[in-house]
Symmetry: C2
């Protein structure tokens, strides 16, 4: 099966959580909107058909179109051998990924607390207030939760012995938060040593290593989810 | 099967989307935290075990614990006959429900744009700015999307001929937004007549009607997701 991934070109964004799974599994896929004429294809998909996706990313697999990062991963997981066999285990994995979704939204809101329609510069004091609380309370709470899950599983991965797509997402969270908040993360990481080990193990996986060194990996930038605005980094 | 629902007592909140499904189906369930000693049981569940939920609501079904509203409904849907048979249709339904999740988060942020840790009074001007954009852009965009889906399905429900749990959620969205923003909703509703018909049809379902008139339906209040602060209603 060759997959078509539809996501905004030029940023890692939410699409990156899907890319990491496809890349780790060595799956065959096309990153549609990054090719010539691809943006038009993407917007056409959103404006037509009986089951239009609300927003990118979405994935086309044959005739099926699946949207929402957590649902795309829930769908891909078994096919890419990045999910366990039992339904109950897959629901647990999905539940963890949905918590990543919530976390990613709050990460986005550090630079856009008053909505995505404004420029960062139009709500800078608000971004600062939001981010102070985010770095003090929210980020440690989310990461601490995943650390607890990891400890409970016996490790070395969040579900235990075998890597699943949630581990790739944890890699991306740590990588992105380090980019956006290098100072704060030095402090925060001290309390989540297990997650840092997951991050490091993922970075060493051959397919991920190849991907990160390829032009397919878009560099972090100030249009994505994780943005480096030094004034926000406590 | 008797289910145990765990959610904050005293508010409809996110738990209400699950309650509506259980009530419509006439399922047997216990609203644990609303009983004496229930809050202690709920917090104990979050602090213990190898697979703790990140936050309420969560549902216990035998030994299985499922969290996150959209996942709880994905799990319950087939059991309560509120989901279609085919996997592809269930993924589509889940995708719609995940968009409800995103919408609900933005509804919450109308009164808490800078994070849930502050009191409403501590970020009132920010709430006003956020809500202006929410009522002008975001709410019409989300509701317009669901209206498009409804039209595409042929109706009378969002998936077509048969009611599914997403329809109960649309009822709750309309009901809650009317409570929170009565003035703005008069204007916004003009563009989503199909959703209003779904709302009205759900309100007339015998089990829902009984539920809404029972003490089990907690009234809307200013601790929940949908809050009536007249200064926010444009």
């Amino acid at each position: 099966m060759r997959y078509q991934l539809y996501y905004w070109p030029g940023i890692q964004g939410r699409g990156e959580f899907v890319r990491l799974a496809l890349e780790d599994a060595g799956a065959s896929y096309e990153d549609v909107a990054r090719k010539a004429g691809g943006m038009e294809k993407m917007t056409a998909m959103m404006d037509a058909g009986k089951r239009p996706p609300f927003a990118p990313p979405f994935l086309k697999a044959g005739k099926l179109v699946v949207a929402q990062v957590a649902e795309i991963l829930f769908f891909l997981g078994p096919k890419l051998k990045l999910a366990p066999r039992l339904d109950a285990d897959r629901l647990w994995l999905h539940q963890l990924q949905l918590t990543v979704t919530d976390f990613v939204k709050e990460i986005h809101d550090t630079h856009h607390p008053l909505g995505g329609e404004l420029y960062y510069e139009q709500a800078k004091p608000e971004a600062k207030r939001f981010t102070q609380n985010f770095l003090k309370e929210r980020a440690p709470k989310y990461l601490g939760y995943f650390e607890t899950v990891l400890t409970g599983s016996g490790g070395p991965y969040l579900l235990g012995r075998k890597l699943a797509y949630i581990d790739l997402s944890v890699f991306q969270l740590i990588e992105g938060l380090r980019y956006a908040f290098p100072k704060a993360m030095k402090r925060i990481e001290r309390d989540v040593p297990g997650l840092v080990r997951v991050h490091d193990a993922v970075a060493e996986r051959p397919n991920i290593k190849k991907y990160l060194n390829s032009p397919r990996r878009i560099p972090f930038n100030e249009s994505g989810i994780f943005r480096r605005y030094p004034e926000l980094d406590a």
